[in-house]
Symmetry: C3
Subunit: 271 residues, 3 copies
């Protein structure tokens, strides 16, 4: 079975950055299967990138997983390889990007700072470690290098962590929660689980008022799929990440409600 190397970044589709990373990997690991998970992480959005990697990782065969959202490139932030309990190797900057996914995959078994210059591209830029550091190291790992050969170990307590997401505020008939992600369809993924929605007493099929900044923006119905509401209707459902989410049947909930990632949303039991 060819080794898997997955890539996730904020490189976007316009530049050659993502393609060049794949090329660097193939130069070292010609049989690797390079899977582009997404290069559409919001620019320099470390927390969003961490969430997208976490969302994807359970579906990716065990392999080497590169993630690059790296506003501190070239500064003192460490380049890392993290081994997870299930045998994956995560490669990227020490800014919190890799940790939620690694912890989901059996926890952090070991972490190493990349210092071995012989594993890197010979001419290294100061601002594109995806190409010059992370891609070549990932390729070496894919063809058999041990993670411990990239450099000295780093204690897991010393790794940079992102602040935790703000938890939902739950009381009877009401939940206040942040929108964490708006997808291509305008579906708004919230920082809560279905069990939180239950705990707030917003029952399946019940009517739910949606408020932003204290003003009602729409009335949703809790359901399971878009078709549980009429075309154009708002539905509060469990999305494919397992998160509570707001969507519109055949439409764009984020636009309708004026919500973007980071917006604090209030859900209240309706009439």
């Amino acid at each position: 079975v060819p080794p898997i190397v997955s890539l996730l970044s904020d490189f976007g589709p316009s530049d050659v950055y993502a393609g060049v990373c794949e090329a660097v990997i193939l130069a070292i690991a010609p049989d690797a299967r390079v899977v582009h998970l997404s290069h559409g992480v919001p620019r320099q959005g470390v927390a969003q990138g961490a969430r997208m990697l976490l969302e994807a990782i359970a579906y990716v065969p065990v392999g080497v997983h590169v993630a690059v959202v790296d506003p501190g490139v070239g500064s003192a932030r460490r380049p890392l390889v993290i081994e997870s309990g299930d045998g994956r190797r995560f490669v990227g900057p020490d800014n919190g990007l890799l940790l939620p996914a690694a912890e989901h995959c059996g926890g952090i078994a070991a972490a190493y700072e990349i210092t071995e210059a012989r594993l890197l591209l010979p001419h290294r830029s100061a601002t594109f470690h995806g190409r010059d550091v992370f891609a070549p190291v990932a390729a070496h790992l894919a063809v058999g290098l041990e993670a411990g050969a990239v450099g000295p170990p780093v204690r897991s307590e010393a790794l940079v962590r992102l602040p935790p997401d703000e938890p939902p505020e739950i009381r009877d008939g009401r939940m206040v929660v942040s929108c964490l992600h708006v997808d291509v369809f305008g579906n708004c993924s919230l920082g809560a689980r279905s069990s939180d929605v239950d705990a707030a007493g917003l029952a399946m099929h019940a009517s739910v008022r949606v408020l932003v900044d204290g003003r009602e923006r729409g009335s949703a119905r809790r359901g399971r799929v878009f078709a549980d509401v009429p075309p154009g209707g708002l539905v509060l459902y469990e999305d494919s990440r397992g998160a509570a989410a707001l969507g519109v049947n055949g439409g764009d909930a984020a636009r309708r409600l004026g919500i973007e990632a980071g917006t604090r949303v209030t859900l209240e039991r309706g009439a």
Copy 2:
């Protein structure tokens, strides 16, 4: 020869949806060649997706062809495998998306509703069947599963069909026709063939007035390539789909003419 699995969807480039579908396929069919035809179908644009799949399919080696434009996901709409006369297997929702391509490829030899739970991901969401249903079934087909093993057969007359495109209105010196697709260059693909343009008496190299909503928007010349008109000039040509199309040499016809997919355009013999 490694098996081909092609993907087409409206997932866009920002989310991990397309990458995760590839990952799911590789977990089951590690040797498959996954070809991303496009994930740029307009959101929930089933008819546009059907046209894009039809446009591409003749160029794709015989394999398994997944298409996901699926506004009815999670509702009663059936998940399908369709076998075409030339041995392809199409995988996607029963909403008309797959039929034009399948019919182009030797016709519908058989169709099956996907019901076999053992072929699907164990934890299935209600809203992402691309990942949870279509990708794993496609991978099983790629590694040798018979189409008939996915579930019970469906009669081809029972499959959901899209309404036919509105035909061009043709009379001497005049054609009224819909724009079906605007591509990245602003070229406007019309719902007519070159033979229709001939039938309307708009001869090669002739001048052609372009009207929208009864107002003249520009004057084109019928030609074969962009260079048949001066830089900035409008050309009525046969595009790479074999459709009559409006383009600007070095420019954007859709912007110039104020045309988008769905616009009804009148072409008249010029002076």
Copy 3:
């Protein structure tokens, strides 16, 4: 080792054009590794495409390298295969797109006009030579065809060349230079090297005034990485292409300064 075929174009992410080119290649060369360097070249931007191919090529294993930015498609412009001194084969239109990369890779060893109809798709459109000419020829080269078998040789002096980039104007304490590329992060790559910046007497860590159209737009500091200036600060640095560039630590320099590709920028020694 599977043969590498790289693709670069202005096809964008929305249409099936890039995916269809990959499919055509796999139909002829099923074991080829197709690497999408980028399909985000600005529409019909031959010079930008040439720069992007040059930027990428040193990182791509020796193989067949297709580039399609082709406003003259279907006109008299020749379809080409160029062999470089290091054994690469470049495939694309004779409009200057391929030359900077080929010259960087050991120079032009030979060039041939593609005329052999048996190598092309049997039904050829007039407007999509990427699919109908360049992709199939590239695939035949990938599986062993000699470049000289595609058609008659073309003398390298007869190849179409792009006009050279406007050089920077350098005098003591001042440089006037064009922005050649704005990347996804808003970093502005300039038509000058670090040695030019040195020659203009703008020393490392010095303050640099940035003017456009005679008006000061901001004050930068010359540094090595973004973190050499405070968050939100402007930095004049050497980018991953080896070019002098303007960036903002955690922000978008192009938007801040009102710069796009082609803008003429003045850098002056600050206070």
